[in-house]
């Protein structure tokens, strides 16, 4: 039984890491109704910039602040040169634009920082410790604490500030929001900048775990089922979705995998997500769209 709980706990902690990626998607989607395919590339770009600066003897916090500034510049450039040109275009146009952005950011990252694989040590030990017969990772607990803090801060931003309320108005109806004087471009800049910050935090945690390399951009694949289950518009949903996906994929791999040949961890979350789609198309916490037809 203790093995079952160890697998479950490990899965929940892995799920928190998936949530970190999913939150970046939620932010952009809430503000513009766009599924930002470039989120994975932003994570990679942030982590690669940070680690490359560290390797050039820039101190930790200096590298962090400098990377943060670069992410803000990136957000500004995306808003100024891509999104501003595409206001009121169909969502599929914006989605295709983010697809293009994804390749551009990846290429840019490699052109600037090179193709080398980097190790990243955040100074948090990954040595396990034993609790009730189970091994727990200090690093995973640290990541969970960071994710929890991030959720609280983002919830405050969205629910307790004028910017948050404006963002919700834009998410509901861009034209109506423009009509009442909300400055759409400014809001998009803010939200892309916040997504960049989330990308940096996710990039550091994932980079410390995987090494900073181009496969980092593939972690977006883990966020898709999380979003389907949690809903595309809820930060809390991203956390709950992440926990469900993390726990279920680990339990499935360990207890069902051996019966059907193993290696099911990648597709099992999508089976779960499909089931959720059939029952709750908007996800657990997503907003149901009611439209006059």
């Amino acid at each position: 039984m203790s093995f079952f709980f160890e697998v479950l706990l490990g899965g929940l902690l892995a799920g928190v890491m998936y949530s970190l990626i999913a939150i970046g998607f939620v932010l952009i989607y809430k503000a513009s109704g766009v599924f930002n395919f470039a989120q994975g590339s932003m994570v990679l770009f942030a982590a690669l910039t940070f680690v490359s600066l560290l390797e050039r003897s820039v101190p930790f916090w200096g590298a962090f602040v400098f990377t943060l500034l670069i992410m803000l510049v990136l957000a500004w450039a995306i808003e100024r040169f891509v999104l501003r040109q595409l206001v009121n275009r169909p969502p599929i146009t914006l989605f295709m634009a983010t697809l293009g952005l994804s390749y551009i950011i990846e290429g840019l990252a490699q052109a600037v920082w090179g193709a080398q694989v980097h190790g990243l040590d955040l100074g948090v030990s990954d040595e396990p410790f034993e609790l009730g017969g189970m091994l727990l990772s200090q690093f995973d607990l640290f990541a969970a604490a960071v994710a929890g803090t991030l959720v609280v801060l983002l919830s405050l931003l969205f629910n307790k500030t004028r910017t948050g309320i404006a963002l919700r108005a834009v998410a509901d109806d861009q034209l109506a929001a423009l009509a009442v004087g909300i400055r759409l471009h400014r809001l998009w800049l803010i939200v892309w900048a916040v997504a960049g910050v989330v990308g940096l935090v996710a990039g550091l945690l994932w980079g410390a775990r995987l090494g900073v390399q181009f496969s980092l951009s593939l972690i977006v694949l883990k966020a898709l089922p999380v979003l389907i289950i949690g809903g595309f518009t809820s930060i809390g949903g991203a956390i709950v979705g992440g926990l469900i996906i993390g726990a279920s994929e680990k339990l499935a791999e360990v207890f069902i995998g051996p019966i059907i040949g193993g290696g099911i961890e990648n597709w099992f979350p999508y089976v779960l997500a499909m089931l959720f789609l059939l029952v709750r198309p908007a996800g657990l916490f997503g907003e149901r769209a009611i439209e006059r037809v």
């Binding site: 093995f3 892995a14 193709a115 190790g119 995987l210 390399q213 791999e253």
Partner: protein
């Protein structure tokens, strides 16, 4: 007067163009070309830049130090594949005809997918396909696969040598009985290729084998390592690729499995596989066909003639002497040696792919020759033939000390006698499916 001047200028231009073309042809007439399906961007760029960097630097070194081979200089051009099979095939088609009249010697895609996709084309075009340390195991049988060369080590030899090493550590092959070995493999045809031979070896020697798949790309392995923790194996064989390797080492640490009981295969053995795992990689063992480091005369010469001359191909000079770079150098040595051997038979001139193929099949690298090449200890003794396109089948073991690899064993040989009938049977099946009549290697000169 103006008309005369204009006419003279035109004549001069035509004459200059003629001279330029003649010079280009004259130069190409004495050059041997290597088409390089390289990958310098994308997820596998770290391997591509190291390998092709080493390969190109070796060619540059031979040109700079010896003026090529018997006066035939080497030339090359790159085509970016991003490790994508379709692009690899497109590059093959674009480059196979040679460059400015210099004939192509061989292709070296360093990609299982591209190698599989261009295997039949290479045979049809009579252009050797070099898959050093990888490729189809059954292409070792040159009677059925005349143009494919899994030089040094095929996948079956790789696992056989690892099992022999574990036996050596356990006190002999008979001591393998009852041992528990887990193989953690990449969820791809590459990862699964050695499963049948591992099962065969488990049956033969009586060890308990567990095969665990890690879905591509391998950035989450918690459940696999919890299964390993539950199984309590004596050894774990890591058959990884890319990000799967450091994640395996990190997760092993997290689940309390000792790193010095993990043996990485040939694609889990580079600095890029161990370093990103940080302290978790310390003690990790892997196989290698060539040590890293720069303590070999050939590498010191490359440094002197190429790198210090400012012509080195590596963007990051610190990667000089790393595993991928040295593999590129070894690959260069073998390709150039094939050209040299073939020239001895066909003449001191640029050769066709078919002639270079003969050169590969007649490579004889003993310690004396390796010493002459400055590569003693870097390349294993090799003897290739029509029937044997692998030639070596031996590996050494290295251990990561936290910052670099250290060789910890002598050459450990695969059980090639055991593997040969399996390889021949697989090649025979392939020949039957494709309607190929195998060459009679007894008649090949």
């Amino acid at each position: 007067m103006h008309a005369i001047l204009k006419k003279s200028t035109q004549l001069l231009a035509v004459a200059s163009l003629g001279v330029m073309l003649f010079s280009a042809n004259a130069s190409a007439a004495n050059e041997q070309y290597f088409p390089l399906q390289s990958y310098r961007i994308g997820p596998y760029a770290a391997g591509g830049t190291g390998f092709f960097g080493g390969f190109i630097d070796y060619l540059q070194y031979v040109n700079a130090k010896e003026g090529g081979v018997n006066g035939v200089k080497f030339t090359w051009s790159e085509c970016e594949t991003e490790y994508v099979v379709e692009k690899g095939v497109e590059c093959y088609e674009r480059l196979k005809k040679g460059l400015n009249g210099a004939p192509a010697a061989a292709t070296n895609p360093l990609s299982v997918g591209i190698a599989y996709a261009t295997l039949e084309r290479s045979t049809a075009d009579k252009l050797p396909l070099i898959t050093i340390n990888h490729g189809r195991t059954d292409s070792t049988d040159g009677s059925v696969f005349p143009y494919a060369f899994p030089l040094q080590l095929n996948p079956y030899s790789e696992v056989s040598a690892i099992i022999n090493y574990i036996a050596e550590k356990s006190g002999g092959l008979d001591k393998l009985k009852g041992k528990k070995i887990v193989t953690l493999y990449h969820g791809s045809p590459y990862g699964k290729e050695t499963s049948p031979i591992l099962e065969l070896l488990a049956k033969k020697y009586g060890f308990e084998l567990t095969l665990l798949e890690v879905p591509h790309p391998g950035n989450e392995q918690q459940s696999q390592w919890l299964n390993i923790r539950r199984a309590k194996p004596d050894w774990v064989i890591l058959r990884g690729w890319g990000v799967m390797n450091p994640v395996a080492l990190k997760t092993a640490q997290k689940t309390g499995f000792p790193t010095d009981r993990i043996i990485g295969n040939i694609w889990s053995n580079s600095e890029e596989d161990a370093a990103p795992a940080g302290a978790a990689a310390k003690g990790f063992i892997s196989i290698t066909t060539h040590p890293s480091g720069t303590n070999f005369p050939v590498l010191q010469d490359i440094d002197k003639f190429v790198v210090k001359a400012g012509k080195g191909n590596l963007q990051d000079a610190k990667r000089f002497g790393t595993v991928y770079y040295n593999l590129g150098v070894v690959n260069g040595i073998l390709n150039v040696e094939a050209v040299r051997v073939a020239q001895a038979k066909f003449g001191k001139r640029p050769l066709t792919g078919e002639e270079v193929r003969w050169g590969f099949e007649n490579i004889r690298l003993d310690d004396k020759r390796l010493k002459e090449l400055g590569a003693l200890g870097l390349v294993q003794p090799l003897k290739l033939s029509c029937a044997d396109h692998e030639g070596g089948g031996a590996v050494r073991f290295q251990q990561w000390d936290g910052s670099k690899w250290n060789v910890i064993s002598d050459w450990v040989q695969a059980d090639r006698k055991l593997l040969r009938p399996i390889i021949e049977e697989s090649a025979r099946q392939y020949a039957k499916e494709k309607g190929i009549t195998p060459r009679d290697c007894g008649k090949e000169g």
